[in-house]
Each structure stands twice: as C-alpha cells, then as structure tokens.
Amino acid sequence: MTLPLLSLLIFQPLLAAALLWLLPARRARQMAASSMLVSLVLGVAALVAYDPAGVRFQLIESVAWIASLNVHYRVGVDGLSILFLPATALLFLGSLVACWTAVSDAPRFHYSLLLLLQAATFGIFCALDTVMFFVFWEATLLPLYFLLGRWGVTAGAAAVATRYFLIMLAGGIPLLLAFVMLAASQVVPTFDLTVLLAVPLSRGTQTAVFLLCLVAFGVKVPLVPLHTWLPQFALAAPGSLTALLVGLKLGAFGLIRFAVPLAPEAALDLHWLLAGLGTVAILYGAVGMLAQTNMRVSLAYASICHVGLAVLGLASYTAQGAQGAVSLLLSFSVATGGAFLLLEFLRQRTGSTDINALGGAAKTMPLLATGFLICGLAGVGMPGTSSFPGEFMLIIAALQSHTGAGMAALFGLSIAAAGFLALYRKAFFGPVDREEVAQASDLRPREWAVLVALIVMIICIGIYPGPWIEIVRPAAEAWAAGLNR
C-alpha cells in the first residue's frame, strides 16, 4: 500500500476549504485553485496507479466507521469510475479559472463551498459502501443550495435553490430505503457494495430495489418526468455552476454503479422500462430544446436528451452499452461543461443568453463563437469529437437490443443537432442589433486558455479514443457479465 490516493482526493479539498478561512479573503481563490490543481494531480496519479487488466476494484481503502451497524468507510475505483476522477478535477479547475474574477462578495464562503462540492463528488465516484455513498450523495446538496441561492443570476434564484434542495432530498428517500432493504436482505446486514454485488437477492427484493433506485437516480439524471428542476436551475444559476452540475452526470453514474448491478434480474425484466424512459428523455429533450429561446435552458434540455441516450444504451445490458455510456458521460463533462462556461462568458459580456437579445455575436466575439460551436458539435456527437465513440457504441447497442427505440433515438438526436444549429445561427450570425453585443469584447487570454485545453481534449479523444475506451472495457465487460450470470 502506497499513498491513500482516494482518501487524499476526498479529504484534501475539505482541508483546503477549512484552511481557506485562515487566509485573507483575496487569497481565497488562489488557495482554491491550488487545491484543485493538487486534486487534478491526484486524479491523474490514481489513473496511472489503476491497472485496467487487474482485479475489478482497486486502490481500496477500508476502515470501520460505525461498527455496530457494519458501516465502513470504504473507497475504491474500477474502470467505470476511474476516469471520472480526473474529469471531475479538470472540470472544477476549469470552472474556477474560467470565472476567476466573477466572485467578488464573500469569496471565502464561495470557494469553500466549491471545494466541499468537489470533495463530495469525488466521494460519490469512489464510495464502495452504500451508506457512505449516500452521505456523499446528500453532501452535494448543501453547497449547491448556497452556490445557487446566494450567487444565482436571477431574482428568484433562492427559491429555485430551495426547490432543488427539496426535490433532491425527496429523491434521497427511495435511495436510502433501497440501501436499507439491501442491507436487511443479507444474513449479516451489510452495506459493502462488493459483498452486495456477489450475493444474489430474491426476485421481489430486486424489483423493489431497482424501482426505488430508478426513482432516486432518475431525479438526478434527470429522466422525464422528473426533470422539471433542471431547466429552472440552468436559468437561475451562473453557467460555471451549471457546468459542474450538468457536466458531472451523477445520476447516470448511480444507475450504472448501483441500480442495475445490485438488482440484475429485476433490471433484465424491466429493461423495457429503462429503455422507454431513455427514449422518452431523448425525444422530449430534443423537442424541448427546440422550444427555447434561452440558450442555457436549451442546453439543459439537450443534456436531458443526451443522457437519455446513455440510459437507453445502458438498457441493452451489454458491455458495449456500459462502455458507451461511460464514454459519453465523460465526454459530456468536457463538452457540455465547456459549453456552459462559454455561455457564462457570453452572459457576463452581454447580460443575456437569450437568442432574441443576441444575434451577430460571432462578429464581435469570433473566438467565443468558434469555441461554442466546437463544444456544441461535440455535444451532438459529431464524428471527430470526443462524444462520437460513446454515442456510436450506444446507438449500436440500442439498435441491437431495442431496435424501435434505437431508431427513435436516432431521430431525436437529429432533431437535437438541428435544434443546436438553428439556435447557433440565430445567436451568433446575422446582423448585430444590440448595443451590448456590439460593445462586447472577445475572450480574454485566461478564458481562452481554459477553452483551448477543453477543445484539445475534445478533438484528441475524438480522433484517438482507443486508450480511454480500453480503460473502461474490462470493467464494462465484468459489469455485463455480472448481469447475465
């Protein structure tokens, strides 16, 4: 055992969040940035330490936490989660640097909340104990509540934050219930994910657990009809925050990690439900996107659409589906995250992201417009971008297992792509009507640097996806094998 990399990942931001209060307020963001840089290094180190050909879960650390309830602090990663660690670190760092000057009031509070959110996100990806997972899962709510409620960009942001918090809290109940049921189904009650995965459950328990998890994670994904909070959130929150929320698909990860493998037979039985929800999300998201005039809301619908594809592909229960889903989610971290950051730049410059208030933005902000196009095209799965390999695998998997749904998905994705281009045309081309757009300056070097890093990743992974997909493949195969045993 060398360094406890995963614990460092989780606790280092917490420590930084505490230390930050000892510094003067103006130093807070430097502290946060250095902590996030350390996180990135640790995330990459974990990726290097991880052996894709080795055993399923690696870098495991386990300490008894509440012994009489058999709850452990247990972290570890497999091929499905390892890539999310550097992606998370990168996205947080990117978001921080991109909005370096945006936070002027109560900076220490703001940055410690961001670090808290980062720690909880790492925890979610690393947790191998269901109680611990739940603790981290709920721990994301408080920072998000404050970040949105206090630093929201619309007047009603606090109300949206409250609503988001309550919806997520209600979504947590089925999850906790499922975990309690899982624990109670064992001879010795346990919350250890590896044990729970190995011991088969009765059919009835499986069905209950699967449905409970589906509701709980469905709220977070979000799946239609549990999605109503997301467009509101996207409208009320600064783009840098939405980038974190939408870029990291925790709900879909929960489905991959918990819902399906813990209740394999029920998942196989209810494949139609999962596939159906995915298809509805794709179509609804695509149509919803067309109806919007605000690009932040529109992108939120686009994200509902794309995560629907991941869910549909997942419902094939093949290694290809899981691999595609993870690849697509990772690509979104970069593409959607980048797109929301760019929208935040746009909002800071013109005061709006509504297409009616823009028009001709490409004339005054060519770099911003180019970046947004690349991120957007990656979002719609353009070949040559990072989303393409994942999207391709998902569509193949979907067409094989649910042909009709797969066709519908293709249709929905085409609508989404068309919707994006139409939106883009209205916002960035045409004559410049408004003063704010005419006065706007293009990207600053700092913003440009973040963007270039993201675009390089989008294109490099798009052209040469092999190594990344290979990291996911063994774990995805084990995942599929566990289902069809």
């Binding site: 739940f134 409250t162 918090f165 809290l169 109940i173 219930l177």
Partner: protein, 504 residues
C-alpha cells in the same frame, strides 16, 4: 457483575460501580447551585457561579457515563432510600437524556449571559432548579417522584414566563400554558394513582409507585387501558404530541425567547417517560393501541408540516417543527422494535440539541431586530453569516441529513418502521420529514437569504459569545454525527432490553 432482579427489572447498586452516589449528586448539585446563586442576589459572582454549576453538572454527567457499563441490560448506579420511596437508577438510554439536559442547560447559561437579562442571578437560579427537575425526572424509577420533579420543572418555567409576560398576548399565552400543563400533569398523576391502586389491590393494601414493584403488579383489562391513556396523554401534552400541542405555538411566539421553549422541548422528557414507564407498565395496552398512536403520529407529521407552511412568525414556525418531529420520535418508540427505540432516543437528543440551537439563534436575531416576523426579516445572511449557517445546519439535523446525528438515528427508525409498518407508510413518513425540510428552508430563505430590504436597519455582527454558544452546539452535533459509534454502543443493550418486553 450480576444484578438484583425485581419483577423483570434488574439493578446494580451504586456501591459496586462507583465510590460516590453519583445520581444523588447529579440531582443535588444544581439545587445547591440554585440556592447559592439565590443567596448571592444580584452580585456579578452569581453569573459566574451559574455558569460554573452548569458546567460542573455537565462534567458530573460525563463521569456518571464513564461509570456505567452499557453492555449490561440492568439499570445501574441504583440508589434506594426506603422511607422516602427514593429510588433512582439509570441505563444507557437515560444517560443520553441526562447528558443532553446538562449540555443544554450549560448552553442556556451562556446564552442568558450574552443576552444580558435584566436579572441574570435570578434567571440562573431558576434555570438550575429547572435542571434539577429535569435530571430528577430522568434518574428516578418511581412514577410519583417523576410527577413531583415534573411539577418542579414546570414551576420553574411558569416562573420565567411570568417574569417575562407583560402584554395581553403574553399573559394569554402563559394562561394557556398553565392550563395545558396543569391538565397534562393531572392526567399523569391520575395514571400514577391507578397504577399505585392496582398495586395495593394485588398486594393487599401496600401502595407503591416504584417501577420495580409496579412491573410485578400490572393492572389487567380496562384498568391497564385506563392507566395507559392517562399516562400517555399526560406525557403527550408535555411532549407535545399532535393534537395536544396547543400550548406550544403561543408560548413559543409570546413567551420568553429561547430559554422557556428550550426547557420545555429541548429535553424530551415526555418521550423518556413513555419509554421508561408507559411501555413496561402497560404492555398489553401499548400493543393494542399501537396502530392508533402511530396513525395519529403519522398524521401529525403532515398536519403540523402543513400548518408550519402557514406561519408568518419564525418562533411559531419552530414550534410546529417541534411538533412535527416529536411525531417521528413516537413512531420510532411505538415501533416496539429495538432499532426503533434506539433511533428514537438518539433522535430525541439530537432534535433537542438542534431545536435549542435554532431557538438560540432566533433569540440572537430578535435581539438585533426586535422582531421574528418573517416578512420583517431579510438579508440577515450578509450580516451574521455564522449564525445563518448554524441555523441551517440545525435545521438540517432535524431533517436527518447525513453527517448530523439525526442521520443514523433516522436510519434506525426507518429500518424499524419498514419492519413493523411496511414500506409505504414509512416512505410517507419520510416524505413528511422532507416537508419539514421544506418549511425550514423556506423560512431560512426568507429571513436570511433574501435581499436586504431598503430602509432596513443595520444588523450587528456576530458577537464572541454567540460564536461560542453556536459553535459548541454545532461542534457537538457534527462530532456525534460522524462518530455515532459510542452512542450506539451506549444505547444498544438498553434498547434491546426495552424491546424484549414485546413480541415481535
């Protein structure tokens, strides 16, 4: 170390576990403190003494816990003095309540100072009397002594409320309080009489109110039902339990801020009384009426949450939060399941701490703004961020957010509740808890997070003493939240013993 058995209860005398009669000391120390402070009148030393005695009591409680062996099902550190029917003993469950009573009283003495009450000496003396009453209720195993201590504590609260009351609304709230509590106390006393009488009938005329005697002479049939309802309703008024909560909102809104409500609902003696006396002494009636009690409690969770949303006053809103969460405690207790009982006790301590913390903060806010009307408060977060965050953290503890002590306890209650009442009603109850989160967040959003209104007065920054009071409560909560293990250990065996009386 074996105990002496008395009709199903066993006890270990204090001489075998400690060198001093710790429980006697626990009761006498605050009374002694009260007498001393009273003698000091308005001198400044009275204030220091008050704090010192409250701290001493807290330390003494910790010492008592250290002498307890939580792995034994017996009641421990027992003391008896036959001529007065004095009989005290504790187990892991009562120690949780005693610790929380001592901690809360200590915090109240700090709070009282920071508020600069007109007559701090008198306040501290009465506060310590109330503490003695609380601790007395928590250590005694004699129902009559319990009733007597309950009377002592109520007297202390009424005294404080009377000193405070000046306006008509305040006097009315006081009258309502006295009516409710007097009635509840009489019900409980009548229940004691039924039990004592039953004992006399069975043993040929020897009256006793001692738990150890009574448990061997449990009344049968109608008498047991009568005893159950008298005791249960008596405690339900005290707790307070929906629909007997009428006194609390008025008292919370118009009574002495923070200290009075904290004394009444900070330590859940009502829940403790049900656990210690009602469950063992009327077991058949408890099992018969369990569905009704739980049904009412589940309705109470929602009803009070719905009422809370209607409130325009922060103090009144908190009162409904209390009623809502006590319903949850009763559900845990009346699951008659060891996990449920353990969860209810831990949650009771947690709720007590959290809601007292919230009341303190409301008191701090009131001192700055002179109001707790929600529409008159705004933008407090900018001025007192620490208190705002603490308020929210306490609110989340009430909801059972992970990382607060409420989480593991709520988890236990959930487990017991699924086992006993099925998943659907459990989910419904949990949703009721989310509703509680809803109104607390809504209040937080309006009072703390909203934009400061134009023309609003400048609010003072957080004072050092406020940091101390809020910080201690917050630190205790987080520490227990992440290190639940010792608490589970302390209460495990005793919960099993309590649940063992009922067939699952």
């Amino acid at each position: 170390m074996t105990g002496t058995a008395f009709g199903g209860f066993t006890e270990i005398l204090w001489q075998r576990q400690a060198t001093l009669p710790l429980l006697l000391l626990l009761q006498v120390l605050p009374l002694l403190g009260a007498a001393l402070i009273f003698a000091f009148k308005e001198r400044t030393a009275a204030v220091v003494l008050g704090k010192a005695f409250a701290l001493g009591e807290l330390l003494l409680a910790i010492v008592a816990v250290a002498h307890l062996d939580p792995t034994l099902p017996a009641l421990q550190l027992a003391e008896r003095f036959a001529p007065l029917a004095y009989h005290v003993a504790v187990d892991g469950l009562s120690m949780v309540f005693i610790l929380s009573a001592a901690l809360l009283t200590f915090l109240m003495t700090l709070y009282g100072m920071s508020r600069g009450m007109i007559s701090p000496g008198r306040l501290f003396a009465v506060l310590l009397v109330a503490e003695a009453g609380l601790v007395g209720m928590l250590v005694t195993v004699n129902v009559a002594w319990f009733a007597a201590f309950s009377g002592l504590e109520l007297w202390a609260v009424v005294y404080l409320l009377r000193r405070w009351a000046s306006s008509r609304a305040e006097i009315q709230a006081l009258a309502r309080f006295v009516q409710y509590q007097g009635f509840g106390w009489l019900l409980f006393a009548a229940g004691c009489l039924v039990l004592g009488w039953g004992h006399a009938e069975m043993t040929g005329g020897r009256w006793s109110f001692d738990l150890f005697d009574l448990v061997g002479a449990i009344p049968v049939g109608k008498f047991q039902t009568a005893a159950f309802y008298l005791l249960f309703y008596g405690l339900a008024v005290r707790t307070p339990l929906f629909p007997l909560h009428g006194w609390l909102p008025n008292m919370a809104q118009h009574g002495l801020i923070a200290v009075a409500p904290a004394l009444m609902v900070g330590v859940k003696v009502g829940i403790y009384g049900m656990l210690r006396f009602v469950l063992p002494l009327t077991p058949a009636a408890v099992e018969t009426w369990q569905p009704y009690v739980v049904g009412f409690a589940m309705a109470g969770v929602f009803f009070t949450a719905a009422l809370a949303f209607q409130q325009t006053n922060l103090r009144r809103l908190l009162a409904f939060a209390v009623v809502s969460h006590t319903s949850l405690l009763v559900i845990g207790l009346f699951s008659l399941h060891e996990a449920g009982i353990q969860g209810a006790v831990l949650l009771a301590a947690n709720f007590g701490l959290a809601v007292t913390g919230m009341w303190f903060i409301v008191g701090f806010v009131f001192r700055r703004t002179g109001t707790t009307e929600l529409h008159e408060l705004s933008g407090l977060f900018e001025r007192i961020p620490f208190l705002a965050v603490a308020f929210l953290a306490f609110g989340l503890a009430i909801v059972g957010m992970p990382g607060t002590p409420g989480f593991d306890a709520a988890h236990l209650i959930l487990e017991a509740s699924i086992d006993q009442f099925g998943a659907l009603s459990t989910v419904a109850t949990a949703l009721g808890n989310v509703a509680a989160a809803g109104f607390l967040l809504w209040a937080f959003q309006r009072a703390f997070l909203s934009q400061a209104k134009a023309g609003g007065h400048d609010v003072d920054r957080t004072l050092p003493m406020e940091y101390v009071v809020g910080g201690i409560a917050l630190a205790a909560m987080l520490a227990i939240g992440f290190f639940t293990e010792p608490w589970l250990f302390l209460t495990e065996t005793a919960s099993q013993a309590a649940a063992a009386r009922f067939v699952r």
